[in-house]
Symmetry: C2
Subunit: 158 residues, 2 copies
DNA sequence: TAGTTATTGAAAACGGTTTTCATTATCAAT
DNA sequence: ATTGATAATGAAAACCGTTTTCAATAACTA
């Protein structure tokens, strides 16, 4: 199912142009990395991506993966997360194919559950908080992160 | 002012006992590290703490700072944060001397602003979200983190 | 097609954190 | 107080994800 649906190749199709507009060259390694990100709905680490790309393009190096991820992050096409397990995770930025969401993180097994519930209620609170905080602290708020930490069901009973 | 008020020595006074109860020995380096944490209201890195402790106890090593911080974190006496600048930060856990709060993080200068506003509204939303998420995902929620990212006033005009 | 230059891969460097291990200090039992 | 078992320590080395270096290569422009 992972490679079947409508999400496939989204990054390349939708953003290939934007990529060139910014003056960057479209290369084989970059296409491959973008495809992996577009095909997955997981929270991939640089190494995850490297290993997947490596299956089709064994000569693409980990360095290039890091460099491309930084580029895509800076362009706002993907988002970099830190869930506290010592390595950064990347996922598609919010957009037509990616709903606004947050994460539950299991402190024991580090599993990450993505949820999209309560977003309306959240917006209510966030809008007011962002407005108030922006004014009081003269802080131009660009984004937010909400993480819930705890123990997942699999870990609780073992 | 930083060393004057009622917060002084809080960690040692309030938690020294708890510390021994857990079977840990109370040592000079540990007392020194706990004092630094109790005296400060900043978000200290391991190195910050090491440098401060080093002024009074030059033979306390960075390793011991890391080990003590891990211990205190596991005991729930302090909280470890990652604000995305590549080093962990530590602060007193919520309690009589530390109000529930969250953080604004400047993406440019990495400055961290602590705020305690909107906590009531937040609680409203969080309680409902935690309840719903716990049930739906069978996830035992222990805590949460809310970070706002943006550009602080000092960085905006330069 | 050629030339400019962005991009690449391999290896080395980096930096915060953790591990190793012999030494030292703490605490309970005397 | 003294002793003895062992938890805690500091210095150095290891660790590991990430970044930098640099010569070779590939992508776009003219």
């Amino acid at each position: 199912m992972q490679r079947g649906g409508g999400r496939r190749g989204m990054l390349r199709r939708g953003w290939g142009g934007k990529f060139k507009e910014c003056g960057y060259r479209m290369t084989v390694p970059r296409k491959a990395i973008m495809d992996v990100l577009g095909d997955s709905d997981k929270h991939l680490s640089a190494e995850d991506i490297y290993l997947t790309v490596h299956r089709s393009y064994p000569n693409v190096g980990l360095t290039t993966v890091y460099r491309t991820l930084e580029l895509l992050t800076d362009m706002g096409m993907i988002v970099k997360f830190d869930f506290g397990d010592g390595r950064a995770r990347y996922e598609l930025a919010e957009g037509p194919d990616k709903k606004h969401h947050h994460h539950l993180i299991c402190r024991r097994c580090k599993r990450i559950i993505e949820y999209t519930e309560f977003i309306d209620e959240e917006m209510d609170f966030l809008n007011r908080a962002e407005k108030g905080l922006s004014e009081k602290y003269k802080f131009d708020i660009k984004g937010h992160v909400i993480h819930f930490y705890g123990i997942c069901d699999k870990c609780r009973y073992k």
